[in-house]
Symmetry: C2
Subunit: 325 residues, 2 copies
């Protein structure tokens, strides 16, 4: 097998989380050919965590008998995408200044790229997904947290130190609730899953006892999550609807800030909360012009991400797609 | 005189405001060689306003006997920097879809560029001023309003429709005071000159009668402006200091948002309010990390703009400096 034939194989996308490593082989069109996941070892040694990653990679090797083109990795931030060094991730404390790209490269002898999951997913959407053909892409994944990425002219915008695109921590309420990051009023603390769950629990505790949300939680207010709010909304629950509209009411000023700074030609949203809010996308679009000075804000498409739970695998692969022939 | 010798002359920078047209000849190093200003005719016909501009340009012609290289114009927005068409400026209502660049080009037969004043001034700072040598520049001019510009790799970042970089209308308080733009809690309504004046008048009306600010306003609370607050601060007035610190307290979360989205390598501030806040720049820098997730926020220089009242002329000229040999 020559070096050339190897380089014609699929890209191996890796998504390293605090509890699992997801891996997949991805073809030139962004199609995930096969995938798997292994448990991650986050609280042991750096080497044990590394072996969890290489174990997951190796488990796919037999699926690409002709070799792989490259390995693209979504890793927990903060990290340096230029060097592929993982700096000091809160949910992977054993990797401190860990030279992930270098170690993977020397082991597998193929090109390796490393970036954070939101940047990588933004690139996957631009290359192969909902933002294909757009030049100024703003992507947000809204789930337990809010991660965002900016892709300009087909390349991730990293800024000076690789920390650009942290839109989840743009504050729209500087007197507002404290975010886990230490800032106040970040959109993450106002609109991510935990905020939706918390809003529901507060309303239920205040006496909305007839909501489907509470039934789904078997009467236990403390067991209410954003997922249950989403299920209750689908079942026609008015309180769930009210909570999702309140979420729209904070997301819109935030998107307005993004639009006024970046003037994107597309907005893409992914993640569990975005999926839950899909029925409100038109509502957000209609509200957006009143939160923008951009005179063409109403023309900007607001699209659901193409990749769902596989965004990390596709994102990792997308990092290496710039090298594709 | 050949076409070539003309192209070696200085750049003519034009700054069109609602009440005046400022013009200047600018050399290859961004030095303003000579300048003048003429009254603007904003409320007559489109043609009368155009003649005010060409009159101002012509008044400098004798200062460049060898001809001029090009004409760069700061015009009131919104406008399309690609085509040089002025769309529908609130403070120049007679120009609606006015093809400014085309008309100036056909009259003077030199390259012509048009952009808004904040973008142009951001570029002048990058080419010749405080941001020289930086790659990811965020510039803000803070005066009666707040205008901002983003320069990436030496070029103005315009976004998709030319409306990017409207940082003055990034909201940090979506429940906050109404901005003239229709949004709530924009940094412009919280920190520009009128906000500072208004904050002072409120405090004085509430009984701070011993402040120097009131003396400077000859006892008339209604006559208090941000300029008087600035003068009183210089004279050691504690109330003025308190008001400027409150301004710092809103500017910092806003700059934190900018840093977390754009990860710039320099922040440059110009305009009258920025000059007034210069003694607080270290304070802003010290507060910034608590309003950023960017781990290197404290390393970002916060610099006073090089160009003051001439920023429009230098900015206009900078628009044409990309063509310089």
């Amino acid at each position: 097998m020559t070096e050339n034939s190897k380089r014609s194989g699929p890209i191996l996308g890796v998504d390293i989380g605090g509890t699992k490593v997801a891996v997949g082989l991805v073809d030139r069109d962004g199609k995930i050919l096969t995938q798997g996941r292994k448990p991650m070892v986050a609280n042991g040694t750096a080497e044990a965590a590394f072996q969890a990653v290489t174990g997951a990679i190796d488990s796919l090797a037999s699926s690409a008998p002709g070799g792989i083109h490259s390995i693209g990795i979504c890793a927990p931030g903060p990290l340096d995408p230029k060097t592929g060094i993982v700096l000091n991730p809160p949910n992977l404390p054993c990797w401190r200044n860990f030279p992930l790209a270098e170690k993977i490269t020397s082991m597998y002898r193929v090109p390796v790229k490393v970036d954070n999951d939101a940047n990588a997913a933004a690139l996957a959407e631009t290359r192969w997904g909902a933002a294909r053909g757009f030049r100024y892409v703003f992507y947000a994944t809204i789930g337990t947290g809010i991660g965002t990425g900016i892709v300009l002219d087909g390349r991730i915008y990293h800024g000076n130190t690789g920390s650009a695109g942290e839109g989840g921590h743009v504050s729209i309420d500087y007197h507002g609730p404290l975010c886990s990051c230490g800032k106040r009023g970040c959109i993450e603390v106002l609109a991510a899953g935990p905020a939706i769950g918390s809003r529901a629990r507060t309303k239920l505790a205040a006496g909305h006892s007839r909501s489907t949300i509470l039934e789904l939680a078997k009467g236990d207010v403390a067991a209410v999550t954003s997922e249950l709010v989403g299920q209750a909304y689908v079942a026609g629950d008015p309180l769930a609807r009210e909570i999702l509209i309140e979420t729209v009411e904070v997301l819109t000023p935030w998107l307005g800030n993004i639009v006024d700074l970046l003037d994107p030609d597309v907005l893409v949203m992914g993640g569990g909360v975005a999926a839950m809010l899909k029925p409100f996308f038109d509502d957000i679009k209609n509200r957006l012009p009143s939160w923008c000075v951009n005179p063409r804000a109403s023309d900007i498409p607001l699209l659901m991400a193409h990749y769902g739970a596989d965004a990390g695998i596709a994102g990792g692969a997308a990092l290496c797609s710039e090298d594709l022939p």
